[in-house]
């Protein structure tokens, strides 16, 4: 455990040393959040959306989405692609720890830095300004657990895509696809309750909505059956872990270290 914490710390420290990046990140995330809130304010007050959702609901969705998205941010595919692309994977593989643990722990450190220094402040301001209600303890705990499982699902998807780099050397397209699928099927840009039924049904068959959207519903105490959500998340994790093992067994034999 202490070893894993060292990797988390390494990921965190690698980000915290760049002060101006931290500052500009804070400015960008504040602008993004408040522009999104303003956009939804306009949409909800217009006749475009006929819905009983209030602005507070939408702000809660946006704030929790921003927090979860930054906590579950994962570029395992990019990290693996870069390690394989420049050959530095040979250094990672000389350590007595699995490659996956190194990548995930460093990513947690990076995400913690991002949440603490970039997203937490504007999120807290929005919560206070718009009077967002926090869920009760039981929903709060279910939300936290579900959010954690959501992060695992995203990591697994990214990691499996990243391993494609063992076969193709590069996976520059992976983050493009994951980000697109997250927005469309994961409902991170527009809540699923505004989707047409057929598209919402498609989303039910894919893992992306279980990354941030379903945990947010639990936070809003709007999930019909939070335990069922968590059960489905666990099933997805099981399936993705199985797929990851299949890919890894083939990938590690395929490794070519670039640049000698």
């Amino acid at each position: 455990m202490k070893t894993l914490l060292e990797f988390v710390k390494a990921g965190f420290k690698q980000r915290i040393i760049y002060r101006s990046s931290t500052l500009w990140g804070l400015v960008a995330s504040t602008l993004t959040l408040f522009l999104q809130i303003r956009l939804w304010q306009v949409l909800l007050s217009s006749a475009i959306l006929q819905d009983d959702r209030t602005l507070t609901d939408m702000v809660a969705f946006l704030v929790i989405n921003a927090l979860l998205a930054s906590l579950t941010r994962c570029d395992a595919a990019g990290t693996l692609a870069s390690l394989i692309g420049d050959g530095s994977i040979s250094c990672s593989l000389t350590r007595p720890i699995s490659l996956k643990k190194q990548v995930v722990c460093e990513q947690i450190g990076v995400n913690l830095h991002f949440v603490l220094f970039t997203v937490l402040l504007p999120a807290a301001v929005a919560i206070v300004i718009y009077g967002i209600q926090l869920p009760d303890v039981s929903y709060g705990l279910l939300f936290a657990f579900s959010a954690l499982l959501g992060a695992v699902i995203l990591f697994e998807i990214q990691y499996i895509l990243g391993m494609v780099a063992f076969f193709l050397t590069t996976v520059w397209f992976a983050s493009f696809y994951v980000s697109g699928f997250m927005k469309l099927f994961g409902a991170t840009a527009i809540p699923l309750w505004y989707y047409p039924d057929w598209l919402a049904n498609v989303c039910y068959c894919l893992p992306f909505r279980y990354i941030t959207y379903e945990p947010i519903l639990i936070f809003l105490e709007d999930a019909p059956n939070p335990l069922q959500t968590i059960g489905i998340q666990l099933l997805w994790i099981g399936a993705l872990l199985f797929l990851e093992q299949l890919v890894w067994r083939r990938a590690e034999r395929k490794l070519v270290v670039q640049g000698g």
Binding site: A10, K13, Q14, S88, I89, L93, T94, P96, V256, V257
Partner: protein, 322 residues
């Protein structure tokens, strides 16, 4: 005690075969072509505990590929390899605990963090007991002059400083075996000497087995009694450096200034270069005319100055590979 064994080791790759230019790149997109490369071709060797072995050959010979298979990074296509009884690619993590690995063109240290942070991570990663960590850190700090560097981010270090810090990091857990892939590449003479001293000391102090690849024959001559020479994935020579020099080398040259007339009457096997009279150069080979005999012959001519030069290992290897 035999510590490292490679038997019929083979590593094959498939590499893209593209025509040059933009046209070639577009063509490869629709009709990709691949060709097989045999990086390692049925190599056999065994290495005893405590040996320092120079693993040498031209670029692309397969040196780094072999070290990566010994480290558990790459799977062999065929054959077997064991390191201290472990099969590296099957038991990568356990193998990683007993070896230290340094790749000269890459660093294990975190680029943005102070050197000491990477060492702290290694301390946890390898479960290094506090006393051993402190002792090793003190030893490496002294031998590599790391004192002022420990708190500096790695990106601010010079190439030589970074390499010293990297080697120290790879040795903090006191591994029994050390794989060094071009550890002196691009370094100045002082840094090279420090690294050579360190390898010698660690080998004498702890009996660490070392496999060293280097293009600097100074590294090999000063550290290794044995070399394994490979070319195009095949083993060409495996044995003592001296024997290699005697078998494939032995060329010498003697420069001298003749006092009187043009020298003549040289025994067969010696060649005279006389384009700069009265300065002459005689070249020969130990296997045909011994150096001492050649000097005796030249001494009889009446000479003023004499300088002799034996063929270096580097020259022998350059000649060997044409």
């Amino acid at each position: 005690m035999v510590q490292i064994i490679a038997e019929n080791l083979v590593k094959e790759y498939q590499v893209p075969d593209r025509d040059p230019g933009l046209r070639g790149a577009v063509k490869a997109l629709f009709h990709p072509r691949y060709r097989g490369i045999t990086a390692i071709d049925h190599i056999n060797f065994s290495i005893e505990k405590g040996e320092i072995v120079g693993y040498i050959g031209p670029n692309g010979a397969g040196k780094s590929t072999t070290l990566k298979m010994l480290s558990g990074i790459l799977y062999p296509t065929a054959g077997s390899v064991t390191v201290n009884g472990l099969v590296p690619y099957r038991d990568r993590k356990r193998n990683a605990r007993q070896i230290g690995v340094v790749f000269g063109n890459r660093s294990q240290l975190y680029w943005d963090l102070p050197v000491i942070d990477s060492y702290q991570l290694n301390r946890r990663l390898y479960d290094i007991p506090d006393a051993i960590y402190r002792e090793n850190l003190a030893y490496f700090t002294e031998i590599f002059d790391l004192g002022d560097l420990l708190n500096q981010p790695v990106r601010l270090l010079s190439l030589g400083q970074k390499m010293r810090a990297t080697i120290a990091g790879a040795m903090l857990h006191s591994p029994e075996i050390l794989f060094l892939d071009e550890p002196t590449i691009g370094l100045d003479v002082t840094s090279k000497l420090k690294i050579r001293d360190f390898i010698r000391q660690i080998n004498q102090k702890s009996g660490t087995t070392v496999i060293l690849t280097s293009h600097d024959m100074g590294d090999i001559e000063s550290l290794c009694e044995r070399i394994i020479l490979i070319d195009e994935g095949k083993k060409k020579y495996d044995g003592p450096v001296l024997e290699f020099e005697n078998t494939f080398g032995g060329n010498y040259s003697i420069s001298f200034k003749a006092v009187s007339a043009r020298p003549s009457q040289f025994p067969e096997g010696l060649t005279l270069r006389e384009d700069n009279a009265p300065y002459y150069v005689v070249t020969g080979n130990e296997k045909q005319v011994r150096l001492s005999d050649a000097i005796s012959v030249i001494n009889q001519l009446g000479i003023e100055e004499l300088e002799m030069k034996n063929q270096t290992l580097e020259e022998i290897i350059n000649e060997y590979f044409g």
